[in-house]
Amino acid sequence: MGNRQLFIAVSGITLSGCLLIIAGSSWVEWLALAIPSVAWIIFAWRESYKSPLGCSAEDLAELNRLTDEFHALLGEFARHFAIQLDGFKSEFSQIRHLLRDAVNRLTDSFKNMEAMTRKQESLITPIVARQQISKDNESKTSIVSFVNYASDTMSNYVETIVRVSMYSMKIVERMDDVYHTVSAILTDLDAVDNIAKQTNLLALNAAIEAVRAGEAGRGFAVVADEVRKLSHHSSQFSAQIRRHVAESQGVLRNAMAASAELSSHDMNFALQAKINLQQMIQEIKEIDRKMQMSISEISRIGNEIQNYVNSAVTALQFEDMASQLITHLDRRVLGLSALLDGVHNIGASTGESRTTTYHEKIGRFHNAIFQAVNLLSTTEHQAVSQQKMHAGDVELF
């Protein structure tokens, strides 16, 4: 019985006694006063069975039933919440592993890409450098230098051919002059032949005159005979010269024809070759220009790829930050788990009286909150404050 019930009972009995004393000796009057007193005692007796909150026994039973139901609901809530928290932990762990795996793969990919870029650059760089050195030193090893050299050589060659051709034409002209001179010699040989014939005729006449002169003309006859022989030899010699000159004239004619054909043919070929070569040289120069542009472009792209790889390396560090944030979230979940244990223990039955259990449960709940606050206090320091994946500051002390 509580203090309130005791006070009501005592005050009821005291009030009844006072009323009996005041009422006097009449049993009717005594009864008239006793009835309300007894009624008051009964009322007080009933009051003594009510809860401290003023509930009746039925109310108390209902309250206990509701409390048990509430505890059961808290237990159910805590069970479901714990399942979700376990899910958080498991999924955080899964995210961490997925991130780690993905980032490791991405890192490998970017490493290989970067290595390939470096290799590509190492192949291109000497070519670019060589081109640059060739430009600076006018070396004969570059394509442009080679083309220019070939062009100059070809021009010289063609000029030489043209000059040779011109000389050939002049030679043909000279040979033509010679041909005419030789023809003139043949004409002159005709005159020599005539002279020889006339000399022979004169020698014959001289021989006739010598015979007519008799003994005195014998010597003259000998001279005439010698002159006639001389004339004959002259004719033979002239014929021989004519034959040789005619042969020379034939050879000269053939040489003139061959030389004229040769000079004409070579000149056309050389001029056409020069035109063709100039076109080819222009094309080669254009190819070389484009090649140099491509090489420069490849080199520039290589540098850009390097920048992108650097940017990727910066961005890929999100895994480290995400991992730290997940660890931070894990700590928060641990704190919430501790709180949840406190809630769960409210509903747990210890088999002791309700009042004791309530006190103990409240104490356990306080303790759980204290532990949770301790755990959660470790989450006050956030190691990762970055909001974006921009490169961080650098400070040298």
Partner: protein
């Protein structure tokens, strides 16, 4: 001869990226997974520079620096912090225990190389 750098970080990806960046520039890199591992490797083989994270299981970066500075061999070896921590209070703690510099993650490979070259050439 190539200079050796000790990279201490519990994140495998960060270690890989640090090593990738530094090796690409011709440095030798020794990797350690936390402060204890870093201390052990630094003592086993002399390095020219230590690059360490702060928050690691076992031994954190500041404790590692304290331990290294207590070792005569590492009294004047440059030690750079490479961490997500960016608060002034943490930087002051780093300065107090003997850190040479403070780099906030994520790092830019170019900037990292610039700092490393500036510190050890």
């Amino acid at each position: 001869m190539a200079k050796t750098i000790l990279a201490v970080d519990d994140s495998n990806s960060i270690r890989q990226m640090v090593a990738f960046t530094l090796k690409g520039a011709g440095y030798q890199v020794v990797e350690a997974v936390d402060g204890n591992d870093g201390l052990s490797k630094a003592r086993a083989k002399a390095v020219d520079l230590v690059l360490t994270d702060q928050n690691m299981p076992g031994m954190d970066g500041l404790t590692l620096i304290k331990n290294l500075r207590a070792t005569p061999q590492y009294r004047s070896v440059p030690i750079l912090m490479l961490t997500t921590e960016s608060s002034d209070s943490m930087k002051n703690q780093g300065r107090a225990v003997g850190a040479t510099g403070w780099l906030v993650k994520p790092f830019d490979p170019k900037k990292l190389l610039e700092v490393v070259k500036k510190v050890i050439g």
